[in-house]
């Protein structure tokens, strides 16, 4: 079952290279995504797998579910996006620097990389072995680098190079952390280490504390680089703003979560070994620093895709803070991951629509979306409220849960900083986003609105709203289970 989930997109990637007909290949990708989602839903209660290697626990299934939903939305969006890009295909002038002429990467390779990306993400979610988890997360980096470089111009090339190098170095440090973890299990007697999560949890009480602490620090820095925690986030705004919108949505909504999964696995071991307080304290402060850095850059941001990217840094900080606080905060962090992915995926896809209409990423040049395109304008406003955590949306509930965890734990300073930073980000995002939606229409380029550019966005917005009003029972149970695995209550 799990092997099938991993193999399906990998084979589809192979098929994507072989299929010559563009519309057929695009439909094949949507079909694969749909099948993947159905299999994921069917696997929700599946507890089999390959012992010590592959299996789905509550944390894994939640991240797999998010990935699958987001991927389906992105592929439906891609139907229209890729068709429109094809029409413009012959090398065309760059709209930011009209002197530069660029072409796109061949569509077959782009599709294949997208599908490989899904396959590696699935592997990361299902990995029950620290070695395999590392291999999977590094593989997601390698699959996404070509995706960022879809538009072959020098800005996306710079972003892709930065992404590849910074992430690879980060992931290399995570490998060192993984090895430290193995060393911690080799004491006192020189036993063999299997690297499997279950074996580590079983051996937790006799792990060597010094190596375990070292392991967690390197896992946090290594996977934290990939997750976009400040101060290791340098690659993130560039990669998110230069890649096509579907790729930004998947990077933000699916890939950052998978890196977070690596840190969460490390925390599981630390908590079982009695090193929980040490690990949690680190997470809390990395979380607060990420939120602060993101708030500072959002307040001064004039590029809406970069603004959304920094917002991802902020939300990753909230996730780290949530599991760092523990208790109800662990549950809150998992719920936050779900809601953030929905809202951010929706906003990045929408940013793609806005970019297609206005042909600029500047927040000042885009005005009057509501008049130019009422549907996109309304969704943009809904997105603002969803991402800022306003009441009827899911992020409100998870943010309040994390706040309550901070207050209940007696962390008044942390709670106060958290509230101040949330407010700063809200102001920083609301004023440009409201200005973009309202006002007199700016300079626009006629662009037809295909249903494929609206339906996935609206669906993600709907889910984000639904999870704010009502959480389906099985999802709630799984989230609670995941919170317990992370040492919550």
């Amino acid at each position: 079952m799990i092997t099938l989930l991993i193999a399906l997109p990998a084979f589809a990637a192979l098929a994507a290279v072989l299929i010559k007909n563009h519309p057929m290949r695009r439909r094949m990708m949507v079909g694969t995504a749909l099948l993947h989602l159905c299999l994921t839903l069917a696997a929700a209660d599946y507890r089999g797998g390959i012992v010590g290697w592959l299996g789905l626990d509550s944390i894994g299934i939640i991240f797999l579910g998010i990935t699958s939903v987001l991927f389906l939305a992105a592929t439906i969006y891609a139907l229209g996006y890729l068709a429109a890009e094809k029409e413009k295909h012959p090398p065309r002038a760059d709209f930011i620097e009209p002197k530069t002429v660029f072409a796109n990467m061949p569509e077959a390779i782009f599709t294949a990389c997208l599908l490989l990306f899904l396959s590696t993400l699935t592997l990361a979610c299902a990995a029950q072995n620290f070695g395999l988890l590392w291999v999977a997360i590094e593989a997601t980096t390698l699959a996404t680098t070509p995706l960022i470089y879809y538009h072959r111009h020098h800005r996306s090339l710079e972003a892709a190079w930065k992404y590849l190098l910074v992430s690879s170095v980060g992931i290399a440090l995570a490998l060192l952390g993984t090895m430290f973890l193995a060393v911690s299990a080799m004491r006192p007697e020189n036993v063999e280490v299997s690297m499997s999560l279950a074996d580590f949890l079983r051996a937790a009480p006799r792990l060597d504390p010094m190596w375990l602490k070292g392991a967690f620090i390197f896992l946090l820095i290594g996977y934290g680089t990939k997750m976009g925690l400040a101060p290791m986030h340098a690659w993130l705004p560039d990669a998110h703003s230069e890649s096509p919108s579907i790729v930004s949505a998947l990077l933000s909504g699916a890939q950052l979560n998978c890196a977070f999964l690596g840190i969460a696995r490390g925390l599981q071991i630390c908590a079982a070994a009695g090193q929980g307080p040490f690990a949690r304290e680190l997470l809390v402060w990395f979380g607060i620093v990420s939120m602060a850095v993101a708030a500072a850059f959002i307040l001064a941001q004039a590029d809406y895709k970069r603004m959304l990217a920094y917002s991802s840094v902020e939300h990753m900080g909230i996730l780290a803070l949530g599991i760092g606080l523990g208790g109800a905060g662990s549950f809150g962090a998992m719920l936050h991951a779900v809601n953030h992915s929905l809202a951010k995926g929706m906003l990045f896809l929408l940013a793609g629509n806005i970019l297609a209409i206005y042909k600029t990423k500047s927040t000042h040049d885009v005005t009057g979306i509501l008049k130019v395109s009422p549907v996109n304008g309304a969704l943009w406003l809904i997105g603002l409220f969803a991402i800022a955590g306003a009441p009827p949306f899911g992020l409100f509930i998870s943010e309040i849960t994390i706040l309550r965890a901070a207050v209940d734990g007696g962390r008044t300073v942390v709670a106060a900083l958290y509230l101040i930073l949330l407010a700063a980000v809200f102001i920083g995002m609301a004023s440009p986003m409201l200005a973009m939606a309202g006002g007199a229409p700016g300079k626009t380029y006629a662009e037809s609105h295909s249903p494929t550019s609206i339906i996935p966005v609206a669906a993600l917005a709907g889910l984000s709203l639904l999870f704010g009003l009502w959480l389906p029972h099985p999802l709630l149970q799984t989230l609670r289970g995941a919170g317990r695995l992370l040492g919550g209550s």
């Binding site: 470089y149 170095v169 280490v193 190596w211």
Partner: protein
Amino acid sequence: MAGVIDFVMFLLVVTNLALLESSRLKTCIWLVAFQGISLSFLPVMVGYNHTGVIGLHAVFVGLISIILKGVIFPLLLMLAVRRANVRREIEPFVSYNVSIIAGVAALAAAIWLSRYLNIPASAKGSLAVPLAFFTIFVGLLIITSRKKAITQVVGYLVLENGIFTFGFAVMPHAPFVVELGILLDLLVAVFVMGIMILHISATFDHIDVSRISTLGDE
């Protein structure tokens, strides 16, 4: 076999220091290839010290490692050098003299630090752990202080070599699948980096990473 391990460790120090002061890209590529080949003997040697037999699995990992690090990576990088038409690193952010001094200081610090670590029995008595840390430091220094994309890839390979030294010196029994997965990821990483370098040289007429910096916030 302990003598062979010590010799490999000696080569590791020499290649690291040589890498820190070489400006010719070709020299750097061959140095890191040589370093990779000599480290490929570690799994077999450490495994032999540990169990008394030469494991088939260790031989296999060593062979794959030699083919990748000694043949495929240098060829790929040489191709990139030829196509990009660059010969040497020009004025790194940290000068060669300062790099060497920093390298020697890091070596001393790593050896001093390792006295305070609980090193597992499998690596006790050998210098593998401190030298692995030293190699990791050298890799990071090369990545951050050099301007050419190819030198950065060389630095990344040195970093990986350091992590490998640590891994094989302390755990002779890492799961086989994981080892192969790591090598495969490394192969694809270098391959993708090589392609990117070709694109960088075609787009910018140079591969000087310090000069591609249009992105960023003020």
